[in-house]
Structures are given as C-alpha cells and as structure tokens.
Symmetry: C2
C-alpha cells in the first residue's frame, strides 16, 4: 500500500458508488405502513374520487335557480321531499321548488346542483325557508373533483407521506408496491474498539459508530444488520465478511482509525473483490474506500465519528437513493447566513457542522474525532472543491440532520 | 343534541387534551433502535470520552518543545523509540529529543504532548526528521474533550437522533430508557364508508382517513391499531369501543362526515364516559369532540380528510407530546412570504394548506373534503383567531408536513 492516498473528487466517488448499486425486487406493504417507503410502481385511481357529487355541509340540496334573490327578508320557499341518508340511499329526485335535507357527505339528489347550509334555512313544516342564494355547485364536491378514474395519482420514486397513504387507500390500494428496504451490514474493525457494554480499558474506546450508522440507516428506510467488532486479524475479518455478504445488499466496514486498519480493510476487499476507490477529496472523510465483492457494494468508512457520518451522507446515501429508486434525496435543507468565515482547502469538498438559529449558521469547528459537535450541530454546510472558503455573511444551504 | 355546536378556542381545546394525557411507563430499547424515540431518563457519561489523550493523525508523538523552529530546511531530529499500537498498548515514555510512531486514534505516550502528521516527517533509520513545529496539544484529542465523566449528556424529553445513538453508545448505554410509544386505536364510523379493498357503490367512499391517521401516527412514534369500520349502529359502535379501550392508550373515532354520525359519536362517549368538548373554533375541523372514557382520551375527529388531519396536528399532537414527555414538538417549520391574501374569519384559528417554493408560500384553497390539496401542499399556515386574514407579502411560518 502506498503511504499516501490517491484521492478522487466527490462527484466521481458518488458516480462510482451509484454505478454499483445492486438491483433489488420491490415488495408490497399494507397501506397504513407505507409512509416513509419509496413507491416502486405507478398508482392509478381505479374510480372517480369521491365518486359522486357530495354535499360538504349539513343542509338542503336545492336547484340553485330556485334560490335566486333569496334573503332573510324574502326567503325562497321550497318543499322538502325527504332526507338523503348516508351511504346507499333511496333515490330522490328534486324538481322545481323542491329540496331535500342532506347531511355532510351525502349524495346530491338528481335534479339538485347545490347545497345550502342549515344555518341559512328555517323549517316550517314541509316547507323550508332558504335565506341565502346558492350558486350552481356551491357546497358541492364534484364526483371527480379529488381524483379522476384512470388518472395517475403517484409515480414511482416518491417517498410516501401519511397523506399519500390516505390517497392510496381512496384509490383502493390496500397494499402498496414499494422498494425493498436495503439490508446494510455493519462490521466494525479496529483493535481499539470494545463493545458498548464493556468499560473501556487504557487505549480502548467503545464502538459508537456502529450504533450511529445503524440508527441513521433505520431512519433512512434501510434495515441495518450489526456484525459486531472484528479485531485487526485478517482471517477473522474475512470470515465475518463472508457471512455478511450473502445476508446483505451493502456492507459498511466501520473502520478503526489507524492507517494499518484502513490498509487491512483495503487488502481484505482486494483479496476477494475489487477496490474501486481508496481516498476521496472530502473533509472530513478522506480515507474512505469504495469496493465491490460478489456484486455487493462494500464501503470502508473512516473511524472518526464525524468523518464516518459525513461519508455516509455524502457518498453512501446516493447509492441507497439509487437502490430505493428515490427521485429526490430525503434531505431537508434550509437557507442561512454564515456567522463566521469558514476557511477551506481548494481541491476538496469540505463539510462543516453548523448550528442554525434564526436564519444564521454558526460553524462548529471541531476535530472529526468528536461526537459532541455532531449532536450540538443542526446540519452541514458543504464548501465546494473549487472554493478556498466561504465568507461571513454568505448565504449558504444547510443540509439539516 | 343542540343543532349548533358550542365551540371553544384552540388553546382551550389543547389544554383540555393535554390535561387528560394518561401516564405510561417508560421502556428500554437497544441503542441502535433509539433514533426517533423520546428519552425518558437522563444520560450521564460513565467515563471520560475518549478516555485518554488520542492522536487524530497518523504520525509521530512528540514533546512540542523539541519541535520549536523546525522546518523543511532545519528539521528537528528526534530518535524514534518505538510504535504505539492500537488498543491496549505497551507503555512508552517519550523523553527529550525522542518520538514514537503513532497511528490515528493511538494513545499519546507519557511525556509527549502533540502529534506531527507523517506528511511533515521523514525517516532516516531510527532518526525522524520533523519539518514542522507542533504546538502543545496539536493533533491531540484530550481525554475528556468529547464528554466528561459524570457529565449529563442528554436530558429526558429529547427526541433522539442517529448521532445521539452514537453518543449513547460511547456512554455505555447498550439499552436506552425511552417513553413507551402511545398505542392509538382508530375506529372508523360512518354508513358511507367501505373498506379499502371494496369498490364503492353509489353514495359510498373508501375509508381513506384511517390509513392516513395510522401512517401519521407511525411516523410520529406511536403504535396505531386499526379497528375497522363500524356502521352507524350504536350497539356495534359501543362493542368495538369496549374492545379498543383496554388495548389502547388513546382512541380516535374517525368520524363519518354527517351530523347524525357526529351526534352518535358524542352520545356513545357520553354514555360510558364524558364529553369534555364538542366543537372547536378551528377551520377546518370545527365538529371535533374531546372526551374521556375510563381514564383514556377519546377523540371524535371530523370526517373530511383535511379536517381530520388538521385536528390531528393541532389538537391531538400536543396530547401525544405530553404522553411522550417530548419537550419540543416534532415540527419542522420554515419562514416564507405569502403569495396571496388569505381571508379568515375572526374568532377561529384557520389552517390553510400552502405549497412552498423558493421562500414563497402559495395557499391552496380547497374544500376540506379533498385529499389532493393535502398531497399537493407542503404544509400549513395558521391564521390566529384574532386576525381577519393575512395579506399577500406577509412573512409566515409554515408547519411543514
């Protein structure tokens, strides 16, 4: 292994990662569990929605022409011929100077073209006093006003919201075809790592990254699988990797932080697969490895928590988006004004943690070995490779956690 | 039942909802599954983190005083006395004019106080040429720089992020004490409703609201439980409610849209419990019922999808936040400029769906019976009860979906 990495630019690394995204077959889930999943097939309305002209008020179904000029002083007098009931209802027909009581959501009877709120009416036996004129279509939801039969309601690649679940239900989708959640294995390596349950001895640290990566992957719509800590012994490492590869769609090697450890990771990947990239022009996160074994993407992530997290977001996420068929990354951004200068090194993308308050982004400069700046910050600002920094007062886009 | 509702103001309705929040016992979950959960007990660091002075670079551990004035032309010459290895390492001591190879993350040997990147050094047998001065502490993470032993790291009420999971792992929390997910039952009522799997006949609509409510509740960190559709028969309704109450912490009655249906809902709640509020000064969503049966909050939600969704967010969510012990609502907001006037009726809070693009919020006026404005919009703008509308050009806060 060379002492220095041959780094590639971030866009090239992203292209390399996306290019090796394995195809996975979609699956179906119950509609009420579909929020957050990525739609894998178009959804077409199988019927007009709501499907019939509906009143949106409790009141009276009328012929609007019969109410022209109606007011408090001179109400229109209409004969009530019955009540619309909810659901499958006896068929009523409204003729000149007639009306029918209609509840909210009831079917507008034939002959009527508007509904008058009960608040603007008065009963006098069979006669109803209508004290306000109704325009044609007033207080009515037309039969195809929400969605039209055969209309494409959602296209593949959409990350579904709770409201979407409502629309899917209205369209008759009791089960929804969505992208399979990528199964992502996490193998921790590094002689300094001990499990969370162990009190670290001298020179040892707990494996924080695996939990952080797993938690992020779960939130992003993946299934993380933890394979524990492998000490820096090549044979043990290879054995765990051989177990993980058939069980996972992607494998993340959550590295120890030392160069020896990174070299071993690269060596193990090269032994049974290929190392595509070793070193990315990104800060933090330079010593990242992208490889492939048996058709599965394998990433060697840096050991520093902030570095691992930035690489997860900047490099691994686009691969996951591709696997999910997701059109837009699930990325919330906000515009803010920089509170301080941020220096940067031309030639690499720099990701700086920032806290955002009242439209101002304050950089939290801190070593990438720290967890505390990750939890104190609200997101990242990316300084493109062509810049030598950003000046105080610049407008920046913050990628929110 | 009176023909008109006695409405109460939104803040009063929220207070009433929050006041009946039942207490639930916390539970523990594995740290890697903790993201999105609300912390129920303080977390204290059980050790200094990282726990020892660590190098953040691959290079040489040095006494900084030995490197004063070092440069390319006149390097400092230090004798390398060995290599720091990762994890539990042989104890090295650095004396005057000595150094030791140290990998990233390695323990700084006694006597040394800085690390020099390998890029600024050159090997000449046992002698290392140091070509750059190191300040005391340079490239070193101090033993308690991330977190200090006994420091309170997180307080209860925090909704945990993936990065938090990393910190919890570093603090030795293999399992995390979090608020129990509220179990929320959903009973759909209304003679016009048919299940999602059925093709609606004349006057019938599919039950879209139950799926939408369930999907939202799942995303918000609750466990929804669907009890299907009850036709407007009081005994059937009471039987399902009697089954749901012991199984759930909260019950939502997803109403049919008619007044009869709402009246029956209120009657059923009053029959075995108490109706606290019937009618809220909110639009859409006025015919909402808040009640309590056997110590469990029971909501009668309006039948229109947009009304049900607004009430869920404005009235039910504060109750769930209270049950979760959540300090801040899980609510993303963005500032925007109104693209059009929004009229509003003084005396009620009005929630208008808006689409947000490039800092501009465009209202989507549409009947509350429509689902399509819910999916085409990005969030809600609230017009407070004391206003008669908002003018084009006003700065508004948009509650994003």
């Amino acid at each position: 292994m060379s002492r220095f990495l041959q780094v590639v630019a971030v866009p090239e690394a992203v292209r390399a990662a996306v290019a090796i995204a394995p195809a996975t077959a979609p699956e179906t889930v119950p509609v009420e569990q579909s929020a957050g999943r990525v739609l894998a097939a178009p959804v077409v309305a199988d019927t007009d929605i709501p499907g019939f002209d509906r009143s949106v008020v409790d009141g009276y179904a009328v012929r609007s022409a019969d109410t022209t000029g109606a007011g408090d002083a001179v109400p229109a007098l209409l004969r009530c011929i019955g009540r619309v009931t909810m659901g499958r209802s006896r068929k009523l027909v409204i003729r000149d100077s007639e009306c029918a009581y209609i509840p909210t959501g009831g079917t507008l009877p034939d002959g009527s073209d508007a509904a008058v709120m009960v608040e603007y009416t008065e009963e006098a036996g069979d006669t109803i006093l209508i004290k306000k004129p109704a325009a044609p279509g007033e207080n009515v939801l037309l039969r195809d006003e929400d969605f039209r039969k055969d209309e494409t309601v959602f296209r593949p690649g959409r990350r579904l919201t709770p409201q979407d679940a409502g629309v899917l239900a209205a369209c008759g989708c009791a089960r929804v075809t969505v992208a399979k959640k990528p199964v992502v294995g996490i193998i921790s390596t590094g002689n300094e790592l001990v499990p969370v349950t162990v009190i670290p001895g001298p020179g040892e640290v707990r494996d924080a990254n695996a939990s952080m990566l797993a938690a992020w992957l779960s939130e992003y719509g993946c299934v993380p699988r933890l394979y524990g800590i492998v000490k820096d012994e090549r044979s043990a490492f290879e054995a765990v990797l051989a177990r993980a590869l058939p069980e996972c769609d992607v494998v993340l090697l959550s590295g120890g932080s030392s160069k020896d450890d990174r070299d071993m990771t690269a060596g193990v990947i090269a032994g049974t697969g290929e190392v595509l990239i070793h070193g990315i022009a990104i800060a933090p996160g330079k010593p990242t490895i992208i490889g492939r074994i048996a058709g599965k993407p394998v990433f060697g992530l840096p050991g520093h928590p902030a570095s691992a997290f930035v690489v997860l977001i900047a490099i691994v996420r686009p691969l996951l988006d591709t696997m999910l068929g997701q059109k837009k990354p699930l990325l919330r951004t906000v515009q803010a004004t920089l509170a301080e200068n941020i220096p940067s090194q031309r030639g690499r993308e720099e990701y700086v943690r920032v806290r955002v308050e009242n439209g101002t982004a304050t950089p939290l400069f801190g070593k990438s070995g720290l967890l505390n700046t990750l939890v104190k910050s609200d997101g990242l600002v990316c300084i493109p490779a062509g810049y030598e920094g950003l000046e105080k007062g610049s407008r920046v886009e913050v990628m929110l956690w």
